[in-house]
């Protein structure tokens, strides 16, 4: 490969840009009290938060798959009026401040919300400030990542395989499950992992809609924020844990998402 000659100004600006990302990570690594790592990680509250985070983020991912894949299929395959508007609405949480998402969820599913009051009076179901509420908040914020990834996968797949399956007598559902889904497997996987990582890091919508109760709604990001006020060294360790998980996801996905080098 030919060595590219970098203009000096570009090189300097790029280096500053890179340093902007590297320094905070370095700070986290250097200033973390490594000696207390075991103690901080095994504290009962931390273990609870970690467990809750994993359960809630994985649940959110499963829910996003169940509803997001069909939604992506409709966006990719069905032409209807208002499709672009609906697509914009379902991907809005990607750009919306999560706190706003949390407030919107409260207004819809809170005890006095549009649907929430009915759920409460009819079934006695309360969603806000419960673990289910955490899952809802995370799904709301993370599902759009799955939808856009899967829709892109559906649009780029060779649809003639579906035609080949039809000539072999496969009905619509068989085509979908036996041909379409396996062929978009990589997009499905990438979408699910991105969705999961986003759910794991969710903070704003969760604290607004589900509150911050240890063992019930206090996920890792919430615990980190809370610890920052009381035991900031422990919060460094937990931050590092979240960082390692996120980095692991990005590295695993780099070929798919950041483009293969």
């Amino acid at each position: 490969m030919r060595r590219e000659r970098v203009p000096i100004a570009v090189g300097i600006l790029a280096a500053i840009g890179a340093a902007f990302f590297i320094l905070p990570l370095l700070g986290l690594i250097v200033r973390s009290p490594w000696g207390d790592a075991i103690k901080a990680l095994t504290a009962p509250d931390t273990v609870e938060a970690l467990k809750l985070s994993l359960v809630a983020s994985l649940s959110a991912t499963v829910i996003a798959l169940v509803f997001g894949v069909p939604l992506a299929w409709v966006f990719a395959r069905v032409e209807f009026r208002g499709r672009n508007l609906l697509r914009a609405l379902t991907t809005l949480p990607m750009v919306l401040p999560p706190v706003v998402g949390g407030i919107a969820l409260l207004l819809a599913f809170g005890r006095r919300g549009l649907v929430g009051s009915w759920l409460d009076s009819t079934f006695g179901i309360t969603l806000p400030f419960t673990t289910a509420g955490v899952v809802m908040a995370e799904t709301f914020v993370a599902m759009p990542f799955l939808i856009i990834t899967v829709e892109a996968g559906l649009r780029s797949m060779d649809r003639r395989y579906e035609e080949a399956a039809r000539t072999l007598g496969a009905k619509r559902w068989t085509v979908f499950t036996r041909v379409t889904l396996p062929l978009i497997g990589p997009s499905l996987f990438a979408g699910a992992v991105l969705c999961w990582a986003r759910a794991l890091g969710e903070f704003g919508a969760t604290i607004t809609f589900a509150g911050n109760f240890p063992g019930v709604t206090q996920t890792m990001p919430l615990a980190v924020y809370l610890l920052l006020g009381t035991d900031h060294e422990a919060s460094y360790i937990l931050s590092l844990v979240l960082l390692v998980i996120s980095l692991g996801v990005l590295v695993a996905l780099r070929h798919r998402w950041l483009g293969s080098a």
Binding site: D158, R160, Y161, E163, A164, A165, R166, T167, L168, G169, A170, K171, T174, R178, V179, P182, L183, G185
Partner: protein
């Protein structure tokens, strides 16, 4: 028992309007240049493209009828399709690919696997059942595609350029095997191809298409003896002219008339084999009735002979020996005379 299709549809620049029938006793090849609409016609028969008007009937049963709006979806038509690039499912094993059609139609998985294994044995691939398609060579993939299409026992077998994706060395062998499977297949058979040799070797009857229309149909021998379009004439390698016959001559255009012993009357095609066309440096002696000057616009070698294209009142191709070329020093742009005998002109009604 037959396939009868009357297909009219437009798709992009293609305007398709053609009537087609396939009988049990014959293998039919759709032959035509790229963009003629062959593949679209095949897809319409399979139910993958909707008709604007017309119908598709299989054994008298209506599969699609634009007038009544009746449409039997692709998955409920008894068809087997071999696609041009095979479209084997990359995520399934060779065995699962071949079993797919039987599984889709509700056969038990063990029985489908057994039948699929039997088909793979028939096409000589029993050693590859567990492999993924991309581990196979082009010729092997073609066989898997054929086995996959045949395994569910379809009534109608459709093949879209079944040999086009193969290299020359494997093509002859795969063509021979394909011929054998086509001969033993008990249902209706339709092959799409742009290769005249392939069409002639695989099919009993050719349907020649150009620009979405049927231009000629007949046995390979009939089509090559009496081309009815420039496309077929070029494939066969003969000079094809069209004009008005008038007892011993054919008027090609306002300025040019050729002498043709066989000409009687009416709108006719006149065909002249390039070997019957002679080249001269000067006006030929003995004044044959068909002789005129022209300019050489192309010279190419073809199987030990040289084909010389001469532009003039009537553009013609002459086929001569390499020795004659070097004697006459014929080169592109040079002036020559062409001549042919009136008895060497084949004439038949247009």
């Amino acid at each position: 028992m037959s396939l009868e299709a009357n297909v009219r549809l437009t798709l992009g620049a293609l305007d398709l309007d053609i009537e087609l029938s396939v009988d049990e006793a014959e293998v039919v090849a759709l032959l035509g240049p790229n963009g003629a609409g062959k593949t679209t016609l095949l897809r319409a028969v399979a139910g993958l493209v909707p008709l604007t008007s017309g119908y598709v009937k299989l054994d008298g049963r209506v599969l699609e009828d634009a007038a009544s709006g009746k449409y039997v979806p692709t998955e409920r038509r008894s068809i087997g399709v071999v696609f041009q690039d095979y479209l084997l499912f990359p995520h399934l094993s060779v065995l699962a690919n071949v079993a797919f059609g039987m599984r889709s139609r509700g056969m038990r998985s063990s029985e489908a696997a057994e039948k699929a294994a039997h088909w793979l044995d028939r096409v000589g691939l029993s050693a590859y059942v567990q492999d993924k398609p991309d581990a196979l060579s082009g010729g092997q993939r073609q066989r898997v595609a054929l086995a996959r299409a045949l395994a569910p026992d379809p009534r109608l077998l459709l093949l879209d350029e079944p040999l086009a994706a193969l290299d020359v060395t494997t093509r002859a062998e795969v063509r021979r095997d394909l011929k054998r499977h086509l001969t033993t297949f008990p249902g209706l058979r339709l092959v799409v191809t742009h290769d005249p040799l392939e069409a002639a070797m695989l099919a009993d009857r050719l349907v020649v298409m150009e620009n979405g229309r049927l231009v000629q149909t007949g046995t390979p021998a009939e089509v090559t003896e009496r081309p009815r379009s420039q496309y077929v004439a070029d494939l066969v390698g003969v000079n094809l002219l069209r004009g008005q016959a008038d007892h011993g001559s054919v008027r090609i255009s306002d300025d040019s008339v050729i002498a043709a012993a066989a000409a009687e009357s009416g709108d006719v095609f006149a065909v002249i084999h390039p070997r019957a066309v002679a080249l001269h440096l000067r006006r030929p002696e003995g004044s044959p009735r068909n002789a005129w000057p022209g300019r050489v616009s192309g010279v190419e070698m073809l199987g030990g002979r040289v084909r010389v294209r001469v532009e003039g009142d009537v553009p013609l191709v002459a086929e001569v020996t390499p020795a004659a070329i070097s004697d006459m020093k014929v080169a592109e742009g040079g002036e020559v005379w062409v001549s042919f005998k009136s008895t060497d002109v084949g004439v038949y009604p247009a």
